[in-house]
Symmetry: none
Subunit: 401 residues, 2 copies
Amino acid sequence: MHDLIRGLKEKNTSKIVLLVADGLGGLPMEAGGKTELETAKTPNLDTLAAEGTVGLSTPVGPGITPGSGPGHLGLFGYDPIRHQIGRGVLEALGIGVEVGPRDVAIRGNFCTIDAEGKVTDRRAGRIPTETCVKLVELLRKGVKIDGVETLIEPVQEYRLVVRFRGDGLGANVCDTDPLQTNMHTLEPKGEDPASEKTAKIAAEFLRQAKDVLKNEKPANFLMMRGFAKFPDIEPFADIYGLNAVAVAVYPMYKGLARLVGMTVVDAGKTIADQFAVVKNNWDKYDFFFVHYKYTDKTGEDGAFDEKVKVIEALDAELPALMGLKPDVLIVTGDHSTPSKMKSHSFHPVPTILWAPATGRPDFVTEFGERACNAGGLGQFLAKDLMPLALGHAGRLQKFGA
Amino acid sequence: MHDLIRGLKEKNTSKIVLLVADGLGGLPMEAGGKTELETAKTPNLDTLAAEGTVGLSTPVGPGITPGSGPGHLGLFGYDPIRHQIGRGVLEALGIGVEVGPRDVAIRGNFCTIDAEGKVTDRRAGRIPTETCVKLVELLRKGVKIDGVETLIEPVQEYRLVVRFRGDGLGANVCDTDPLQTNMHTLEPKGEDPASEKTAKIAAEFLRQAKDVLKNEKPANFLMMRGFAKFPDIEPFADIYGLNAVAVAVYPMYKGLARLVGMTVVDAGKTIADQFAVVKNNWDKYDFFFVHYKYTDKTGEDGAFDEKVKVIEALDAELPALMGLKPDVLIVTGDHSTPSKMKSHSFHPVPTILWAPATGRPDFVTEFGERACNAGGLGQFLAKDLMPLALGHAGRLQKFGA
């Protein structure tokens, strides 16, 4: 599909907005009830649904619950099964650590080892984040490896990120976590020469770290997992010919946007800030990815009423975005996060495609899970949205004569 | 998709039931009429449809009418186009002959040849099944081949099954049926060394059979067709992590279940027996495949009213199944068998997915072809049902972070 689109893409002055309400889809809490979105009063979204075309987006495939990575790659038009993002890279992106083509990113766990070097606690008693920050500080001062640039960042509790930057580093390196206690940690081993280079650097890192941490309690060592490189993803601009900007508050979504080559700008803090940022950048870009986190957060918390409120809060700010008169406005989510399940889920995501010049209306006049099921977009794979957006924006030439 | 699922699968204590009403989908007999399912009074199925999510299952692809093999492989989550089951194997399964990895199964036709050995009747005047049984008895006594275990079983009229069991037997062997009369039967020929081994065994079998049958009338020889081996199918348990049992009355469906590695238990005779068997085995398995034959039989007979009755009979027994409180209950068919057509058809099959904890309701409150078209599952490929069932059963981990 990307090969086809690359050949058909055409520049014009149209503006496309992709508004992702994270975890938007939901479920009723009890039989006969309404979902969060069906419960929320959303006059602006309902107007968009009535004027536009709606449907249900399957993020990855039937029954597959996506993480944020695959969820967004699908919305950006990439096949999330073919383009998998390594754990280390996602962890780094999640805390705002940039990952480039020369980098290997690794998840670290502080752990406790005994006098013989055997692991007695794989999470070092879940040390508080302050301790993690302090230990990372010690590592930064005490560990020096020649020929590679090393970045160490705390995450939360016992978790940290290590990033090695250098030439010719591979990421096919085994985890050093033995996955059970009373075992020695494993030596990093590479599956190919480039990864062996990384493994040697990691081994030296761990050797020095063991010495630096030896008198600390309870976290006196660390394990490394999920060695990963920047994924081989063709940039958004090359495939679609779009000059794209990400207007996201949270590091993970900025990071995912950077992975596909979007420009990332300071988005402020609130959705009102974000829409103002879109307005201020309206002439500079063709494509605006706006990420709204709170529909997912409230869903994860199982807070049905709060999720309803954050949907309503998003709806209330929409006129600012609609006032910019985008040629194509998509409202969707990267996955569902039903409050009932307190987690991401596989359920299809309600979606609006609003394109006043080329949209074909359906009979649906409100935005909700059941309503979208009767919409003109039908049920579709998330990765099909981008070609659809380009078509509506007049950015794809006729295929064949 | 199977690679993805294999990596995400996770065990838990959930129970999944797949109830297949063979040939369930139908057509109205005349314009403006109702289908068999729409005509039937089905209070229990309607309750499941109202509480669950419905849709239409396309067994193989648009316009493709499946046999029982591809129809069931799709429902078991296998791509029926990639995994084709050879004719000989299906014929064997249909009469309850087991086929294992060392076997080659072959369909046989008794035929009539003249003094020169030319075929004068490819079906030997459609001899009655009793004659077939008698001739098979003669072959069992008279044919002996060293180094291979030979099984011969009558099917119906002029049809029989031959199974060779041995090491290194291939199945790329041409049919010996010349497909027209007044021609000699063909010599079996193998396309590769392993198949040449089988071809030599088949040639010796046919040489001895010709001698054994030479004085019989009208069936004095046989032809061999559809040489086939056990298909290369990854077991159900390995892909899905499910401990599955088949509760089917007819040999074909037991055989298909065995092909994917399900355990087959004695199912009794009636659907009430079958549901009792499910109940008695509830703690032993995770997944229950229950096969109901009569919706297909009546459809094949063109007996619209009878098909309505057997649907109602199925519905009446459903409370026994629902009382077991499965986590996921799917009601569907392997294909449509409209009474109007007296045959299998390509029409999508009405389907219910009922999963009280995670199901997303739609607006549909009854079970029928037209009603299902408005359902929350939309129109989907049969092979997508298994991943969906696993998702609803909480048996798939999140994909990516």
